[in-house]
Amino acid sequence: MATNEERVNQESVDEAALNEEASRELAAMVAEVEQSSGAAEEEGIDDMPLSSPQSQAERAAVIEALIFVSDEPLSAKTIAEVLKEDKEVINEAVQALAQEFNARNGGLQLREVAGGWQFATRPEYHEHVRAFLKTRPSAKLTIASLETLAVIAYRQPVTVPEILEIRGVQSPSSIKTLLDKKLIVAKGRKETVGRPMMYGTSKEFLLQFGLKDLSELPSVEDFHDLSGG
């Protein structure tokens, strides 16, 4: 490279040293990952030759990863086929892995069920797991609730019969959910037959969607601007 450019770059070398170190580390990982996936992209996975694990430790690690990503209990036979190894070798390796893993006495166990191996939580902790699962669905909405919220956001203030009219489906439980989550608020009654309650979005709604006020809701035009380009 030209000398004058080097001179210019000199000042920034120190500042960038740390960054460069991190870059090198990342580059090494990328190289490792790319080596194989690059080939996969071009040749297709099926005819890609796959090496068997080198050491016993590597074999155990690969087995652990496979059982983890499998959506059903994984048999030693299947693992042996994937790794192109002898079934007996794999069988012993899984047994050893299970023994090691379970000796940790952690919250997870590696167990044999329905002819295969899977990771599962230990029953001792199921009380906590159940409690956790119950508290969980907070930030997320069902499709029904989302639709109802969309109608309320863009048509507020709006009554339950009006939402029914637009969505074509009953929404009381969705509205209750949205009220519970404080995403919408009651806005008084509409002076019409039956004086139905009107709903609108709340301050919490603005907060959760990062809006200063309702005028910041994206409009159809915003959407078209992007699609157009």
Binding site: S23, V30, V33, E41, L146
Partner: protein
């Protein structure tokens, strides 16, 4: 560094032309079905300028404007000879460069103090320096994504299936609302028409299609509808089975295909 960017993985055409060290390419656009011209490896005028500066071995802080402008224009001319529509942003930069070149040729104002005089190139240099940072940041992101793609999460558990949930952003809200309005319009039409398949039959069809494969791309299901009315029924039947939790919906991208699965 350009040579290491992911775009070079794209199939290369052997065009005899080689301008500014880069071969112009024609590639399919990811977002549309159109072909787009990849100006060599350049993502924009700043990218091209950076390349020229590097190629000419000159300092970014002391750009020989005349030389670089000539190279830049030569590049655009080749594009035009190839009958390629050069993006507007490239032309804007060409105008800027020519103006800059002219300013550099003008005699200095003898009344202005020598050190105080502004270098007309300052704005461009700052722009290039700024862009360069983000270009490097983009490469860093690319590396991170590559490593991250090699990391796998656990398979789905029974407990993940509690609710057909969707994570929501602002534009989802708009999209959902537009969909509902479109659906609403269809329903109005529906009241006039009669005959054809019934809602019960449509529900049965959907059940069968999902059950037989365990999973169903909804686009496939919708495409079977022979009329707009059937399409509406198809859509409603999906909503119904989601409501009764017989099926669950997945969507990997916001506006991507939706897949229905049997909820066990």
């Amino acid at each position: 560094m350009n040579e290491d960017t992911p775009e070079t993985a794209l199939e290369e055409r052997t065009t005899p032309l080689n301008v500014a060290g880069a071969v112009p390419q024609i590639v399919p656009d990811d977002n549309t079905d159109d072909l787009k011209i990849l100006l060599g490896e350049f993502e924009g005028p700043l990218d091209l300028l950076l390349h020229l500066i590097r190629q000419e071995h000159v300092s970014i802080y002391d750009i020989p404007v005349a030389r670089i402008t000539d190279e830049y224009l030569r590049y655009l001319r080749v594009m035009q000879e190839l009958d390629i529509a050069v993006a507007g942003d490239f032309l804007v930069m060409a105008a800027t460069l020519i103006e800059l070149k002219t300013k550099m040729l003008l005699p200095r104002d003898p009344l202005a103090a020598e050190e105080e005089e502004d270098d007309p190139r300052t704005d461009l240099v700052n722009q290039l320096l700024e862009y360069q940072k983000y270009k490097a940041a983009a490469e860093m992101l690319w590396s991170r994504a590559t490593v991250e793609q090699a990391v796998f999460k656990r398979a789905e558990l029974e407990t993940d299936k509690n609710n057909p949930e969707v994570a929501v952003g602002l534009f989802d809200l708009l999209k959902v609302f537009q969909d509902i309005l479109a659906r609403h319009k269809e329903e109005k039409l529906l009241e006039i028409e009669r005959d054809e398949i019934s809602m019960a039959e449509m529900l049965e069809r959907l059940r069968n299609m999902v059950m037989s494969a365990g999973e169903l791309n909804l686009r496939v299901f919708f495409e079977r509808a022979k009329s707009r009315r059937e399409l509406v029924l198809a859509f409603l039947s999906v909503l119904e089975l989601v409501r009764t939790t017989e099926i669950r919906l997945f969507q990997r991208e916001t506006f991507g295909d939706i897949v229905a699965r049997v909820a066990s």
